[in-house]
């Protein structure tokens, strides 16, 4: 079992606390002049995304978490699982609904996503920053109608709902920023 000592603590380090994988967000070394030294850390639970504070005596050891990020290609969805493929080994991994989370509404086959893996099991899926998706359904916009602020809702091929300018119609492809969920531009085919 690999361990880290408190003097190796830094932001981004992955450790196990109470059986869960955490990432260190912030590490503060605290020491009264001639006394015991401590490390006060803020850590993010990689399963729940909650951030908590913990204090360690300097010199203590914690278990290292086998957590790392990997780019994988989205293949298909089968029931509750989304299947991803390692593009080098062609090995496939299923990610459950909890791991997929919000990314599910942006996934299009063959998109390359970043997966966070813990002991080889997907903990979370991050879609690409930008995706190009076709509009599946939207009401036709009436030219000059500014009552809705010049935008209207559109349902994309993946089921995501995004606000788009009035001039767009079904079957047109748009570029969306997955981090904000906002329309960026029309994609000319």
């Amino acid at each position: 079992m690999a361990t880290y000592s408190t003097n190796e603590f830094k932001a981004g380090l992955k450790i196990i606390l109470d059986g869960d994988p955490y990432s260190i967000v912030e590490n503060e070394f605290v020491k009264p002049g001639k006394g015991q030294a401590f490390n006060r850390v803020r850590v993010r639970n990689l399963k729940t995304a909650r951030v908590v504070e913990k204090t360690f005596k300097s010199g203590e050891s914690v278990e290292a978490a086998d957590v790392f990020e990997k780019d994988m290609q989205y293949l298909y969805k089968d029931g509750d699982f989304c299947h991803f493929m390692d593009m080098e080994t062609f090995e496939q991994l299923p990610a459950d609904a909890a791991a997929v989370g919000d990314a599910g509404k942006w996934l299009k086959e063959e998109d390359v996503c970043t997966l966070t893996l813990w002991n080889g099991v997907p903990l979370s899926v991050t879609p690409p920053n930008f995706v190009e998706l076709a509009i599946a359904q939207t009401d036709p916009g009436v030219r000059g109608d500014t009552s809705g602020g010049g935008i209207k809702p559109a349902t994309l091929e993946t089921g995501a709902v995004v606000r788009v300018p009035l001039f767009l119609n079904a079957n047109e492809v748009i570029r969306v920023d997955t981090r904000s969920g906002e329309y960026v531009s029309r994609v000319k085919s």
């Binding site: 503060e28 070394f29 006394g35 015991q36």
Partner: protein
């Protein structure tokens, strides 16, 4: 220093002896014959030898080294201003330190407050640090999100002091904490009547800046404390450290009654320049030296 007739001394940074405080990690270097010499964690031992030899009031401005201490306010290689005043009580030295800090931070208006260790804890946590049990300290810690299992009494006091107590000090004030628990005396006199160590610390806001003592002068008591440190190192499984026999000899020959203080110069510079991290006041911090 000039105004007060305090002589500057330059003492060796390397010694055959090492500081025995179990909470400090002295760093060593090796000469070509394989002999280990230790980098001083402060110039205290050498300066006391000079005081015993009749130097009069002295100060040292230079480097000190403490292994494993890196952080926003720590660099393993750092700068201390340490000085000793013969015949001055530690309470008077406290006022002198406040005056020095005011001069160094002349563009800030700083209040000066003196408060005992006991009162600082009572204000912040409503417990008496000299009598509270480990269980009571653990409860106080737990209420403030500090839940550790295996801390001993002094460790709890250190943690609470460094987090909860000093975070309540006013930002624009020099806070002088005096009369520490006897268990945290290091080389300060212990008041036989009150059972407290005649030790003080100076903070600016929540930042610990200086540590001072009514210096222990008795050679036998010094020997006993160093032996106690030695046993503690053994119990903790730490490597043994060579005890400074020359300091013991000097103190047995006679150390004049004096008080002394060490001030963290890098931190003083951080305050003067409003730096957020000690790296900003170092030419090259530890990671890039």
């Amino acid at each position: 220093m000039w105004e007060r007739g305090i002589l500057e001394v330059d003492v060796p940074i390397l010694s055959q002896a090492a500081n025995t405080d179990p909470n400090l990690e002295p760093m060593a270097c090796q000469d070509p014959n394989g002999e280990l010499r230790y980098l001083h964690t402060s110039p205290e031992f050498a300066m006391k030898r000079l005081l015993a030899a009749g130097s009069g009031d002295i100060y040292f401005l230079g480097k000190a080294f403490r292994g494993g201490e890196s952080g926003r306010f720590h660099n393993p290689e750092f700068t201390l201003l340490e000085f000793y005043r013969i015949g001055l009580s530690y309470r008077d030295l406290m006022a002198e330190v406040a005056n020095l800090v005011e001069i160094a931070l002349e563009d800030r208006v700083l209040a000066i407050r003196e408060i005992s260790y006991r009162d600082a804890f009572r204000d912040a946590l409503r417990i008496n640090p000299h009598t509270a049990t480990v269980a009571e300290l653990a409860v106080a810690g737990g209420e403030r999100g500090l839940s550790l299992d295996t801390l001993q009494r002094d460790q709890w006091l250190d943690l609470l002091m460094a987090t909860t107590v000093c975070s309540r000090f006013p930002t624009n004030a020099i806070t002088l904490i005096y009369d520490y628990p006897a268990s945290q005396a290091a080389l300060a006199e212990i008041d036989p009547r009150g059972g407290v160590a005649l030790r003080f610390e100076a903070y600016v806001g929540a930042l610990e800046l200086a540590n001072g003592y009514q210096e222990l002068t008795d050679g036998q008591e010094l020997t006993a404390r160093l032996d106690s440190d030695k046993r503690c190192l053994l119990d903790q499984g730490q490597a043994p450290r060579p005890i400074d026999q020359r300091l013991i000899a000097a103190q047995c020959a006679g150390l004049p009654s004096c008080s002394g203080v060490a001030i963290g110069v890098d931190r003083l510079l951080m305050l003067a320049t409003r730096a957020a991290h000690i790296d900003a006041v170092l030419a090259f911090p530890w990671a890039r030296a």
